[in-house]
């Protein structure tokens, strides 16, 4: 995973990769939360473009970050999920907590 914080847009981007299961989610969570608490970003982008597998541990990861960001007024963008990951995101109703996008438009970087 690569983390990038853009100070001008107050946007924290986590470029996830590989398989996101319970084993991996714990490590991702620690790194992302450290960056969230350091920067209090307005937008958290979770980039799923290089993710090949995700189960409900990934849903827990999104829900947990939503609970942290919401009181801070932050929003979450779920970027480029593969079709089978998009299915799980919709099954879990993640579009109610976050925005699912195929590309990062201008809006996210404002």
């Amino acid at each position: 995973m690569k983390l990038h914080y853009d100070i001008d847009s107050s946007c924290l981007t986590a470029v996830l990769d590989g398989e996101i299961d319970h084993h991996i989610a714990g490590m991702v969570r620690m790194e992302v939360d450290t960056a969230i608490y350091a920067h209090s970003p307005r937008t958290l982008v979770l980039d799923f473009g290089n993710v090949t597998f995700m189960d409900s541990s990934g849903i827990g990861l999104i829900m947990g970050r939503y609970k942290i960001l919401q009181p801070l007024g932050g929003t979450i963008i779920l970027l480029r999920p593969a079709p089978h990951i998009g299915r799980i995101l919709r099954l879990a109703g993640m579009e109610r907590l976050a925005e699912i996008r195929q590309e990062l438009g201008e809006g996210a970087m404002q």
Binding site: R29, M63, L91
Partner: protein, 147 residues
């Protein structure tokens, strides 16, 4: 029912083995030639089942998880995941979407909902203090032979 092929393995309840269980299932499924979606669904299902055994069955303690995979007639895939952990006191409650006994660990409570959605049938046998067995079947789509 006649079993066309079967593979069994036992491994410790270590989260690194969640990926191993998925890889094992993928290898077993090659003979059934599933679609990309069927493969993705079943990989998700076994990942949920094994994670449940680790997170909820053994709750950080050690123990064995046994996975039994079968290819049954009419393109039915059978997946059995057994643990000898703490068991589920109330199976019905555990199967409610969004219910989790481990919210502090960011568990979404969607494991059973995903397993039910991605399989044709799901049976849960659990005895408190003795462990849990999940038996899932998935009917694969009809294969159209080419040529």
């Amino acid at each position: 029912m006649k079993i066309l092929n079967e593979f069994k393995c036992t491994f410790p309840a270590n989260s690194a083995n969640e990926g191993l269980a998925r890889a094992t299932l993928s290898a077993f499924l090659i003979q059934a030639d599933p679609t990309a979606q069927e493969l993705a669904d079943l990989r998700t299902v076994i990942s949920e089942a094994v994670t449940n055994a680790i997170v909820h069955g053994y709750r950080g303690t050690t123990g064995d998880i046994t996975v039994c995979l079968r290819l049954l007639p009419e393109r039915v895939i059978y997946i059995k995941v057994t643990d000898k952990g703490c068991g589920i006191p109330d199976v019905q409650k555990a199967m409610e979407p969004l219910y989790t006994s481990a919210p502090e660990e960011d568990r979404a409570g969607l494991g059973f909902a995903i397993m039910q959605t991605f399989t044709s049938s799901l049976r849960v046998r659990s005895i408190a203090g003795h462990g849990t067995t999940l038996i899932m079947r998935r009917q694969l789509g009809v294969k159209h032979e080419e040529g």
